[in-house]
C-alpha cells in the first residue's frame, strides 16, 4: 500500500496566515515534509504607483505598505525625500516623529503579541493587548485624525502640532504600561504549555538569519546585535543612548521575549524624549519652503513660481534634482528601506521598498520543514509577518 501524501493549501483564505499568504505543504500525517510560500496576493504595485504620482501624492499611500506601523514607512519616505531635497527638519518635529514612531512600535508589537497567542490557541491575551493598543491608537487618532493610516508626516516635518495635553497622556501611558507588560508576562511567560509550544520551535540560527537577510527583532532573537537605530542612526536617534536587547536562542520563545524587552525599551525612550522635547511655535514644525540659497529665478527651488508650500496641496509639487538616496529605518518588524531615485521632475523615477517581512516570509519554509503542522502556525506567528508589506 502506498502511503499517500497530503498536499495542503494553507491560505490564502486562512484564519492565521495574517493576511493572504499561501503556503503549500506536503503533509505526512501531521508532519511537514515540504512547504513552499507563495506570495503576491496583496500586490498593489506600490513601486509602480510612484511613477505616476508626484511626491506629495505618493506620501499618503506609503502608510498602506505596513498598515500596523504606518509611521515607519512614512518616515523612511520623508527622510529619503528630505535627503534628496536637502531639507532640514526642525528639532521639535523630529522629536514628535521620534515619539510617534516609538509608540507605533509598541502598538505594533502589542498587536503581534495578541495575534501570536491567538495562533497558539489562547484567546485572552489578544483582548488584553488590544486594550493597551487602543490607548495608543486613540492617542494617534487625536493627533492625526486617523486610527491606522496616519498621513501625519510631511516633507520637512510633521503636519500639525501636538494637541493640548497630548504629551501628558503619553506620559501617563508610559507610567502605566510596564505594569501591563508584567501582567502579560504573568499570563504567558511561565505557562508550561506556552513554553512547550515555543521553546526550541522554529530555531533560526545566526548564520541562517544573516544569510536570509532577516532583520529586526527576529535577527536580534538569533543573537546578532543589529539595530538601525543604533548602528546607522537617523533622525535624532543618535542623541539617545539606549539598550538593544539581544537573545541567542533564535526560537519562537526568544522572538517573544525580545519583543517584550523592546516594548520596555521603547517606553524608556519615549519618556526621555518627552523630557527633552523642545517647545516652540507650531509654525516651526515644518519647513514651508526649501531654499538652496542661490535665489536665482530659474532655480527650481528658489524661483518665484516654484516655491513649495508643503502644507498646501501644490499642483506643481516638489521638484527634486536628480539624485538617488537609500534610507534605512528600523521599523517594528526590522529594517525598512526606501530607495528613491529622483530625476528633476516632481515625481520619482524609481521607488523601491525593502521590507523586513519579505525576508521573514522567505525564511519561513526553512524553519517549518520537518516540524509539525501546528508549528507552522506558531512560527508564522512568531516571525511577525505583515502581508501587505511582503507584497507591497
Amino acid at each position: 500500500m502506498v502511503i499517500e501524501e497530503l498536499k495542503l493549501n494553507i491560505g490564502p483564505q486562512h484564519p492565521s496566515t495574517h493576511g493572504v499568504l499561501r503556503l503549500v505543504a506536503d503533509l505526512d500525517g501531521e508532519y511537514i515534509k515540504d512547504i513552499e510560500a507563495k506570495i503576491g496576493y496583496l500586490h498593489r504595485g506600490m513601486e509602480k504607483l510612484a511613477e505616476s504620482r508626484n511626491y506629495q501624492q505618493y506620501l499618503p499611500i506609503v502608510d498602506r505598505i505596513d498598515y500596523l506601523s504606518g509611521f515607519f514607512n512614512a518616515a523612511s519616505f520623508c527622510y529619503a525625500v528630505e535627503a534628496l531635497a536637502d531639507i532640514k527638519v526642525p528639532k521639535r518635529a523630529e522629536y514628535i516623529r521620534f515619539i510617534t514612531m516609538e509608540l507605533n512600535r509598541i502598538s505594533s508589537h502589542l498587536f503581534w503579541l495578541g495575534t501570536f497567542m491567538l495562533d497558539l490557541g489562547a484567546t485572552s491575551p489578544l483582548f488584553y493587548t488590544l486594550r493597551e493598543r487602543e490607548v495608543i491608537v486613540k492617542l494617534f487618532e487625536d493627533l492625526t485624525g486617523q486610527r491606522l493610516m496616519y498621513n501625519y508626516y510631511c516633507f520637512g516635518g510633521v503636519k500639525r502640532d501636538l494637541p493640548n495635553g497630548w504629551l501628558t497622556r503619553v506620559r501617563e501611558f508610559c507610567e502605566d504600561f510596564p505594569s501591563k507588560i508584567d501582567e502579560y508576562e504573568k499570563l504567558i511567560t511561565e505557562n508550561p504549555i506556552f513554553l512547550e509550544r515555543t521553546k526550541g520551535v522554529g530555531v533560526l540560527s545566526k548564520e541562517k538569519a544573516l544569510d536570509f537577510g532577516i532583520t529586526g527583532p527576529n535577527l536580534r532573537a538569533s543573537g546578532v546585535r543589529f539595530d538601525v537605530r543604533k548602528n546607522l542612526p537617523y533622525g535624532i536617534y543618535r542623541e539617545f543612548n539606549f539598550d538593544v536587547p539581544v537573545l541567542n536562542d533564535g526560537d519562537c520563545y526568544a522572538r517573544y521575549q525580545i519583543r517584550l524587552l523592546e516594548m520596555r525599551e521603547s517606553i524608556k525612550l519615549i519618556q526621555r524624549a518627552i523630557a527633552r522635547i523642545p517647545g516652540g511655535a507650531s509654525e516651526k514644525l515644518h519647513i514651508k519652503r526649501t531654499n538652496c540659497g542661490c535665489n536665482k529665478p530659474e532655480c527650481p527651488f528658489c524661483g518665484e513660481d516654484t516655491q513649495i508650500y508643503l502644507k498646501k496641496i501644490n499642483p506643481i509639487g516638489l521638484r527634486i534634482p536628480s539624485n538617488e538616496v537609500n534610507i534605512w529605518v528600523e521599523s517594528s518588524r526590522g529594517l525598512s528601506g526606501c530607495y528613491v531615485k529622483s530625476n528633476g521632475t516632481n515625481s520619482a523615477d524609481r521607488v523601491k521598498w525593502r521590507t523586513p517581512s519579505f525576508s521573514a516570509t522567505q525564511v519561513l519554509p526553512e524553519l517549518c520543514k520537518g516540524g509539525l503542522y501546528a508549528d507552522v502556525i506558531a512560527i508564522l506567528g512568531s516571525l511577525d509577518i505583515v502581508l501587505p508589506e511582503v507584497d507591497r
Binding site: 495542503l8 490564502p12 483564505q13 500525517g29 508532519y31 509539525l372
Partner: protein, 120 residues
C-alpha cells in the same frame, strides 16, 4: 417492569437518534435551497483542492488503536474486581497489582519501541 434497565437504555438510544433525525428533517423542510457550484465546492482556503481529501490514515494511528484496545480490555477486567474488592481480600489485591504491573510493563515496552513517539 417492561423496558426497565437495559430496555430503557435501548429505548433512549432509539429516541435519541429519532430526535436528531427529526431536527434534520425539520431543517430540511424549513431551510432554503439554492445550491451553486461555488457554494458546493470543497473549502481549501480559496484554492482548487489538489488530490483527494480522503487519504489513508498514517500507520501510527493503528498502533495507538491497538494499544488502546489492549489497555481498555484490561481496564474492563478490573471493573468487576473493583466492585467486589472488599470481599476478595488480600489475595485479589496482590493479584490485581501483578496484573497492573504486567500492564505497565507493556506500556514501558511500547515506550521503548518508540510506539508512542510521533516522530519516525
Amino acid at each position: 417492569m417492561f423496558l426497565g434497565g437495559f430496555g430503557a437504555f435501548f429505548a433512549f438510544a432509539v429516541f435519541s437518534v429519532m430526535f436528531a433525525v427529526a431536527a434534520l428533517v425539520v431543517s430540511f423542510i424549513l431551510a432554503p435551497k439554492a445550491p451553486s457550484e461555488n457554494k458546493k465546492s470543497t473549502y481549501e482556503c480559496g484554492m482548487q483542492p489538489k488530490g483527494e481529501g480522503q487519504i489513508n490514515f498514517s500507520v501510527k494511528y493503528y498502533m495507538f488503536a491497538i494499544l488502546f484496545i489492549i489497555f481498555e480490555i484490561e481496564a474492563l477486567f478490573l471493573f468487576p474486581w473493583a466492585v467486589i474488592f472488599k470481599k476478595l481480600g488480600l489475595f485479589a489485591l496482590i493479584e490485581a497489582f501483578i496484573f497492573v504491573f504486567v500492564l505497565l510493563l507493556g506500556l514501558v515496552y511500547a515506550c521503548q519501541k518508540d510506539l508512542l513517539e510521533w516522530r519516525r
